[in-house]
Symmetry: C2
Subunit: 84 residues, 2 copies
Amino acid sequence: MFKVKVYVTLRESVLDPQGTAVKSSLHSMNYNEVADVRIGKYMELTIEKTERDIEEVVNELCTRLLANPVIEDYRYEIEESVVQ
Amino acid sequence: MFKVKVYVTLRESVLDPQGTAVKSSLHSMNYNEVADVRIGKYMELTIEKTERDIEEVVNELCTRLLANPVIEDYRYEIEESVVQ
């Protein structure tokens, strides 16, 4: 079994209205030290071992469903967990 | 300036319908090796240095706005960046 952590973020050049809204909320709560907020997605996947290479599978999942490569970047961490 | 990465996840005991939907989509795309999907939020904050302790500020932001402590857990990483 693999435990995969996927981080999807908007590309630098893409506006992030959700982040802007959170920043405004924080400013209205008097946290004026918050200069910028960018919001992304975090996903934890549990994937069973197959004959395919796990990195190849994860890249496919990311580009086909989890991230939109036009406006988003993704990165991932793969941990192998041993089931007793 | 501090660069803070915040990860917000649903507690283990809380159902994650969004994760279940993503898992179903992946199964319908024939990725049957995906055993579980949990979806969370990932936020990158840029925070200016103040006289307050940065960890204290980040914990406050998380419990007051970014996460719902009743159903969500959060963790964070703080990096100090030196502006030239």
